[in-house]
Amino acid sequence: MSNQYVNEPMLDLFIFESMQLIEQMELLIIANEKSSSYASEAINEIFRIMHTIKGSSAMMLFNTISTLAHSMEDLFFVLREDKPQNVDYSELSDLVLEGLDFIKLEIAKIRNGDEADGDASELIKSLRVFHATIKGQKSSAHDQNLSDGTDSSESCPPEKQQYYISKVRRTEITSLRNTFQATLRFDQDCGMENLRAFGVVNDLGDLAEEYYHIPEDLDHEDSVRVISEQGFTLFLKTDRSLEEIHRVLIQTFSLKDLQLIQVENSDLFNDLHKERIISLEDSAVKIPTPSGREQVANEQQEKEIQSSATQQSIISVSVAKLDQLMDLVGEMVIAEAMVTQNPDLKGLELNNFQKAARQLRKITSELQDTVMSVRMVPLAGTFQKMNRTLRDMCKKLNKEVQLQLIGQETEVDKNIIEHISDPLMHLIRNSIDHGIEMPSERETKGKPRLGTITLEAKNAGGDVLIIIRDDGEGFNKDRILAKAREKGLIQVPENGITDKEIYNLVLLPGFSTNENVTEFSGRGVGMDVVVKNIEAVGGVITADSVPGKGTTITLKIPLTLAIIDGMNIKVGDSRYTIPTTAIKESFRPKIADVIVDPDNNEMMMVRGQCFSILRLHDIYHVKTDVTEFTDGIIIMVEQDDKTLCIFADELIGQQQVVVKALPTYIRNTKKVRGLAGCTLLGDGSISLILDIAGLIGFRQSA
């Protein structure tokens, strides 16, 4: 299995398409499993998907995937054609999902540039066994027809197998005028003879009405040998002329020799034809159209035509390109500001310029919004994936849980989606594993047998809230507390800590790395990984629980990382940007409100409440003339229910800023506390974006 001939874009496309199809199929299977019978559309759809995967993987020479897909396809062929009764759908789903997992694994290997070397023979064997069981339930009259579609390595004689690609219309067979016999020989050592032959057949697809070829099964390993030794022989019926066919065939790549002759019903053709008629009549017993396989092909085409007509046309674009576009638009927003706010224009009366500038500003901001919206993806895909996790977990643990999805249409930046998929899966797993009780236990507690996990997403200002709620047993407060004490995570006396704070202890790193946690607190393996992932995208995670009633985990995630609404402030010569969402208010302080404690910590009294003050010029060692509170301004910020007063020289103004990371070199040198990144201001100067959570930490540890 060499893929050195395969070019990268094709491989990429194969990976992308197959993954999409597999995901789609998973959803279908899970949706149908619940109703314990497969809807006929679903079966058709799955059949189509497997057929596509089989075809494309065979094209790319991933034979293992192809044969596995083939076996699955056969299975659904039986389901579709014979509608057997008493099928164990649960077992079927298990088998098929297992198969899909295998394909996914192989594709992952391919993506990483490894050899797809997995062995699917066991899987194929169990698929065959299942196939035989359901097949055994229907009359033997259909066997002949079935063996047409089954795997090439099955025991029936190979010459009985037919490999049709043609779109036969029975009525037309007699009206076709010309019959040709073509023999193609390929260059020695050109490799992949069967694939080349397949290509020839494909090329002819539109010209010939009907064709047969020797060897018949191009998938079969032997076909390579046969073609290289005896050439590839093709019989075709068409109403095109000899020249037209010749012109097409002669273009074949690596072609050494081509013989094309017009034949009058050669014996060979008739033989093949007869066989063909038999199988046609056979299948005609059940369905009016010539053969199941072709019907599928036709249906598929029709469907595609239909869907392409009704669906919005969609193209897939790489995220890297979108990022680039985003960056460029960001640059443009800044460049626009540089032009329209150019200091050279100061004091000039430029009516027409102002008009044009306004127009430009409008367009750039619209452009920015559009680019942002392009990157937004609904959470539905990520949420749907959880169905699979749920199903597998429930089977393994013998629990009964249903997943309720709310607000799937909520949109989030593509980058963020990638970061939250794993944490979500982890949280769901935790909920099933530790939260939801066994069905019997639930009944004795007076809860419904069926546990419920609700996954809800909603917009809240510039953030998206994702809430994972289960109706399980909830956290055990005392155990968490004991564990935290043991680990030295809390020092305060028991009554000085609220329930909510206790529950949030499980999110602390170090708390969950302990193996005992699972049996101990009931929650938490890998919880700090979840926290880390969420924090990586600037999100916040909180936990709450009602003992015996269930647990709620809330993820607060910013809509996007790329652009924030910021308030620019000035300290000395430096500029800083504070995310507007964090700002509660800003005011000029009265000296009487400032309190200084013996450790020289400054605090401020605002409406009866006391907040600590952070002098930006102090912590960042910025030279400024404004050191008196009465000269500067206080900006009150809040994050995670903690409030802080930041002292700066003055406010510059509010602006949408494009967040840029600090240069790698700086980040490698030192992680500066309280800095989230930087941004370019309208005049081309750089402003540092403050990380409020970091600043609050500053004050607490200082």
């Binding site: 040198t669 081309g684 100067s685």
Partner: protein, 163 residues
Amino acid sequence: MADIVEQESLDESEDTQKGKFLTFCIGTEYYGIEIKYVTEIIGLQPITEIPEMPIYIKGIINLRGKIIPVMDVRLRFRKPSREYNDRTCIVVIEIREVSIGLIVDTVSEVIAIPDEEIVVPPSVTKEGNRYIKGIGKVGTDVKLLLDSDKLLNETEVESLGNL
């Protein structure tokens, strides 16, 4: 096939750049840096300070929308700092996709120093020539050839404490 051609052209451009150094001046010494690392030379720009950085990292600049850090080579070599003037330049170098600007007193010229004219620095001094990987002889002059990799990647822990 295309790869081979690309490789060849890459080799070629590497060949033309090989043995060439951009020389610049700090105080009385001349330093050289391999030309293949140099992206561009720009005049002094407004620098945004970053708090809590070692003293030789002056901050970040906006280079046509790209934000890059700048390092004062003078301070990096523990020489007394000097007022920047109109001859002060920022040499932007890129090593393994990390861009950084080096503030130097003046930029001199690009010269070719053949391998045989480069000698290994004496290893007697303990700290001083950590960033020098060779000494190039050009006529009667001597140029100190910088090891850009070390310049970027060896952080001086002690200078962090000075803050």
